[in-house]
Amino acid sequence: MRRFWVWVLLLAAPALALSGEEVLKQVEARPRPKTFHGKLAMELINKQGKRLTRELEIWTKREGSVEKMLIKFLAPPDVRGTAFLAIRKGGREEMKLYLPALKKVRRIAGGQKKGSFMGSDFSYDDISKLGSLKSENYQSKLLREEGAFYVVEATPKPGVESAYERLVLWVEKPHFDVVKIEFYRKGALYKVMTLDEIQTYAGKYRIPTRLVMENKKTRHKTVLLQRELELDHPIPDSVFTERFMKR
């Protein structure tokens, strides 16, 4: 009888296991709000544990293949009014930064997107892609199953612009929540992002309310805490404009 169950398990296992691609597709298939508005606290923590805090307001909107994001800095006073706009349309992405001291809107070009977002451990690119993973841009491979997690390696497909050579994602099995991402650059682990304190909103959206990005080279950390979330509330397109950035 015991031998029978061993055979059943061995035969069933390949049928139940998911490929890396399937895991990422499941991650993408989770319900996502069409709009998101909220406030964020951003803490920058250096290796000595010294903290600097920023407060941000964020608006995002998704319509078909168009994704828009606007972030405004509310505090501290020396960065108050700075605004970041990202618009992704198909494979094209446009980023702009409004600097209130200069009254100027500056474009963020190509590789500049890999640069630090306002002194944090997130790049402009990381921030603009928060919460959206385009599985078609990656070749993925299931590395292993680690208890309740799928561990998937995702490598950008040729021609896809990416700041990283590969990502390794920890995906929690029952809900396909991404809880950790390792970012590799030049063959070495560069940054690690953990996504925790996941809460369910409107009975269907599972959203991490605490994100920690750690730079393994500098041992510097950035913590993003999400507050006052509003999901699926209508946000007019006029929010994602230079006009609104300057207000």
Partner: protein
């Protein structure tokens, strides 16, 4: 219009979502001229900014104080009326695109008493009206500007000031600024848009009907009978009347973001070109300042995990002194969230003079920043920057923003 503005503001206040935000800064600056160890800056400055962002309006008022001087900084009300934004008050406006040199950014006066101050600190607000129109469904913006009173820029002062080339018979100098009137106002219009070209293209066109920022010689009068012209400027006695000439400034600007295959890090090219026309385009009238043509090309590149570098070339042509060319290089590197290294080098290619301006910023805590700066000038004694070669400084600034 005033009534509508007041009503809109009251309506906006009633709909206020958030209370007013108070912010400000306290800055202490110290500067030492290293050629003779003279203290050239020892000044505390305070600013307080009150800002309310309402559903359909914004109110901003800024108080600036330093020993012996209290004044208003930016102070305006803005209402959002559908596709229009209307602002009135003391306004800071940006009509240019490039850095360091921006020939089109000429709406606001500049305080160049200490010409080594940061460009954003040199600009002074101007009492003006601004109407911005955003055509629906486009990424275009059209701004109309009107300032009833022209406010001249403050020329370099003290050891930074150059003597005016006046005839030896001049015993008195009078400066006349245009009186506030409808016809003496400053007018401007700027149109800009964004296009999906390469990694993104921004285009702008600006027309300004303003005055030359600094005064020029308008007349030489007889000091004994100011109704008569000076009979002999070499012997005098004469009164030199300085004044401002009407300037029609027209130009265009662009910013183009692009990537270069095989090169990590992005590029942004910016350019500005302007023609400033006075009533003396040929430069033959000694009592009217010359017309000029000016162009700036700028290339910005951010190295991966490295500095952002700006390379800038400027050319300017006027009947006198003809062509002048500048080259500038500036870099900014945020080593971490606390330490920022900045530096600028400006070279006048025509007379061989130049300036080097390194800065180090260190954020001690949220809102508390220390700045260390130096300035070095070189070149012949009559050259653009060489004239200031004894004005090189070492300085420090501590700023608390709240």
């Amino acid at each position: 219009m005033k009534k509508h503005l007041a009503l809109a503001l009251l309506f906006g206040l009633a709909l206020a979502q958030e209370g007013p935000a108070l912010s400000g800064s306290l800055t202490y600056g110290f500067g030492l001229r290293y050629t003779d160890l003279a203290i050239v800056q020892n000044e505390a400055r305070f600013s307080l900014r009150w800002e309310t962002n309402l559903e359909d309006a914004a109110l901003v008022a800024e108080l600036q104080a330093s020993p012996g001087r209290v004044g208003l900084g930016e102070a305006y009300a803005e209402v959002y009326l559908g596709a229009f934004d209307l602002a009135a008050g003391r306004i800071l406006e940006n009509t240019g695109r490039t850095d360091l040199f921006s020939p089109l950014d000429a709406f606001n006066p500049k305080d160049l008493a200490r010409p080594i101050a940061a460009p954003e600190d040199q600009k002074r607000p101007l009492e003006a009206l601004r109407l911005a129109y955003y055509p629906e469904g486009t990424r275009a913006e059209i701004r109309l500007l009107y300032a009833p009173r022209f406010v001249p820029s403050t020329p370099p002062a003290g050891p930074w000031a150059r003597p005016l080339p006046l005839p030896p018979g001049v015993v008195k100098v009078e400066t006349h600024a245009p009186a506030a009137s409808l016809e003496n106002g400053v007018f401007g219009i700027r149109a800009s848009t964004s296009l999906e070209v390469l990694d993104g293209l921004d285009l702008g066109a600006t027309l300004l009907y303003t005055y030359t920022p600094f005064p020029g010689l308008k007349a030489l009068l007889d000091a004994t009978d100011p109704d008569q012209p000076c009979p002999d400027p070499n012997t005098g006695p004469c009164i030199a009347v300085l004044g401002y000439d009407r300037l029609f400034l027209a130009g265009g600007d662009l910013a183009l973001a692009f990537s270069v295959p095989g090169v990590e890090g992005g590029f942004v090219a910016r350019a500005e070109a302007a023609y400033g026309r006075t009533q003396d385009p040929t430069g033959t009238d000694p009592f009217v300042q010359d017309s000029y043509l000016e162009g700036v090309l700028e290339l910005e590149h951010t190295f991966p995990e490295g500095p952002t570098v700006l390379l800038l070339y400027r050319a300017r042509q006027s009947p006198s002194p003809g062509w002048t060319h500048h080259l500038a290089l500036s870099a900014r590197y945020e080593a971490d969230e606390a330490l920022t290294l900045e530096g600028a080098w400006v070279q006048n290619l025509t007379d061989g003079s130049g300036a080097i301006l390194p800065r180090v910023r260190y954020r001690l805590a949220d809102g508390v920043e220390a700045l260390f700066r130096a300035s070095v000038f070189y070149g012949g004694p009559a050259s653009e920057f060489g004239f200031w070669r004894d004005n090189g400084e070492l300085g420090a600034e501590l700023r608390y923003a709240f």
